[in-house]
Amino acid sequence: MAARASLTIRLFGGAAIAVLLTLSLGTLIAVLLRAEAISGFGRPEWAAVRFTLMQATLSALISVSLAIPLARALARRQFPGRSALITLLGAPFILPVIVAILGLVAIFGRNGVISNILGFPLDIYGLQGILLAHVFFNLPLATRLILQGWLAIPSERFRLAASLGFTSGNVARTIERPMLIEIVPGAFLVIFLICLTSFAVALALGGGPAATTVELAIYQAFRFDFDLSKAALLASAQFVICAIAGIIALRLSIPQVAGGELDRTLDRWDAKSPFLRLQDGVIIILSAVFLLVPLSAVVLRGLPGVLEMPVSVWQAALRSIFVTVIATTVCMAMSLSLAFFVQNIKRGKIWVEGVSLLAIAASPLVMGTGLFLILFPMMDPSRAMLFITALVNAAMALPFALRALVPALRQIEGTYGKLADSLGMHGFTRLRYLYLPRLRRPLGFSAGLIAALAMGDLGVITLFSDPNRATLPLEMYRLMASYRLEAASGAALLLLMFSLSVFWIFDKGGRVNADV
């Protein structure tokens, strides 16, 4: 791009990096400075660290182990509803965590469907509940990642295998195992990272000395004890854990979830036996039931609940829309600035991407606490609560947006860069007539993701839990916590519809008239 434009790009990129650094490291420092006496890292803190690592390891292990047979079944079977099921596998990305938890409690909880059938109450609280919720969210993700691996195997390989008389055992050993060895560690790590920082699941289903994650302990230290030094200490621990995991993640090739491309099956001449068909059928049906039934419970219980909803739910919904709009705008502005910045610098790309990963390593609760402390001398932070929430959501969603935008931009530059150069398309012209039109789909998709994340997030907002300033997920959680399940179900349905709608609107906006 021309030198004139590159100043603007540097300016915007630098600003975005400054904001990110403030949000991740700056807030941590703000919390550390306020901590008066650094208390020692006692037994409960170590217990929280251990529990965090254990639940994340187990969640990732279970999700990936179940995902391998499911992905294999989906890769080699064609059946009615297959593409609907694969679309459903993408839903947990945009499904608010607290809504899913309500659905899971309705099925697996003390008074849930399964307890009623068995005749004795199941206990969903504690490690088993956390694992259940994490597998519910991450089994679909793992399945999509591994299914991509399967479908990326060239079809000639399977034809060759058929022609050489491979049995399904030969295919597994020669074709499938090498692919799994390549894909599975990355998928495991992605899920491990997600579960390390998961907060809403631990808040709703964990707690107590036996099932407290670091993130939950930060919340408790801040909200119940207002013990900033303990919160800061835990925040540093969380930061270190996530940073180590993040560095490992940078070294491994992390598989990416591509949109589409999963809508085909492999012709498999080795897997035609009735036994294998039956096995795959059972796996697919069980998985579909596991994923669909809790969601159906939310819809079924939510419909009558809509009438029970207090006015506060509608007010909270308005606040959530406000948070979503701000978060999406800020995140898109920052990620576009960073994407162009990365595209235009010659050295140091890895550092810029590293900075964006800081947003993953930093705890959203610490970001919120830090912003609270920074703003405290200037104004009443509770008035800025919604804005803080939006900003934190924007920072958290940034890595996802960058993952979509940076490769897209690189591809555009690679394909059309020379043509545009030769035609003298520079600066704003290039942005207006080359980049933005060609970026529409990834822009729409990532804006949809960010909006859905912000809409459903139950994280930093819990710190301020002010009944007059609650967002929709928080309001729903409060109704749940006070056992107003009818109203909570209604709010859950509303939240679910909002999240799906915002995703759909943005994603659709990126697809309409996007000539590919």
Binding site: P154, E156, R157, R159, L160, A161, A162, S163, L164, G165, F166, T167, G169, N170, R173, T174, I175, P178, D267, W269
Partner: protein, 230 residues
């Protein structure tokens, strides 16, 4: 002899018909415009799709519905013929046993085949450590150890340069002639056909034409071929 008896292939709106014979030991090129159905024919013969009517017969044996592995056929695709994580030796050995448990004689066969294609020094290398031409040679070695009477090629060696491609075609043609095999090769390059094929089958306008002797065909090309050659 390979026979298509009133063969009829339908895929959606697309139709392909043929009723022809190919002599044992013949080396035949299949040519025709893109989308005319060359690869479809290839898939039907190899067993990857079922014809809607008619029969495919090899030496009196009906193979129309046989599974790919039971057909007397060895295949070579345009690319992806090798598994990237297996060595040249293992990739070749797959042609004998898919589980790679070879007897000593069988191992010797693999070594001999690799030597025949000039790769005796490269047995332990994986495809990434081989040049494009060497990779094609490994695939060729596998075809040789399979000892199948019918060899099917879908635009093989298309990624290679002209000189290298000619060399590979010669190697292939010679190997098959020695074993008495029959060769069917899809190609879009008339030079390939002129180089090794004794006859050419034109696939165009939904018809599989009977094989015509190569020299005669290019001296007096039919309309479909003329349009294709330009």
């Amino acid at each position: 002899m390979l026979t298509f008896e009133n063969l009829h292939i339908t895929i959606g709106d697309f139709e392909l018909r043929g009723d022809i014979k190919i002599e044992t030991g013949a080396q035949v090129a299949i040519m025709g415009p893109s989308g005319a159905g060359k690869s479809t024919l290839f898939n039907a013969v190899a067993g990857f799709l079922s014809p809607s009517a008619g029969r495919i017969v090899w030496d009196g044996q009906n193979i129309t519905t046989s599974v790919p592995a039971d057909r007397p056929i060895a295949l070579l695709f345009q690319d992806n013929n090798l598994f990237p994580h297996l060595t040249a030796f293992q990739n070749t050995a797959l042609g004998i046993r898919p589980d790679l448990r070879l007897s000593d004689t069988q191992s010797q066969d693999v070594t001999d085949a690799l030597a025949k294609v000039g790769l005796q020094e490269f047995e332990a290398r994986k495809p990434a450590a081989l040049s494009g031409g060497q990779q094609s040679r490994v695939a060729l070695a596998r075809v040789l150890v399979q000892h199948k009477p019918l060899i099917l090629l879908d635009e093989p060696f298309a990624a290679l340069g002209p000189a290298l491609k000619a060399e590979m075609l010669d190697l292939l043609s010679r190997g098959i002639r020695e074993s008495g095999g029959t060769l069917l090769m899809i190609t879009h390059d008339p030079a390939d056909a002129k180089r090794i094929a004794d006859s050419v089958i034109i696939v165009a306008d939904g018809q599989i034409a009977a094989p015509v002797e190569t020299v005669a065909l290019f001296e007096n090309p039919p309309a479909a071929l003329q349009t294709y050659l330009g």
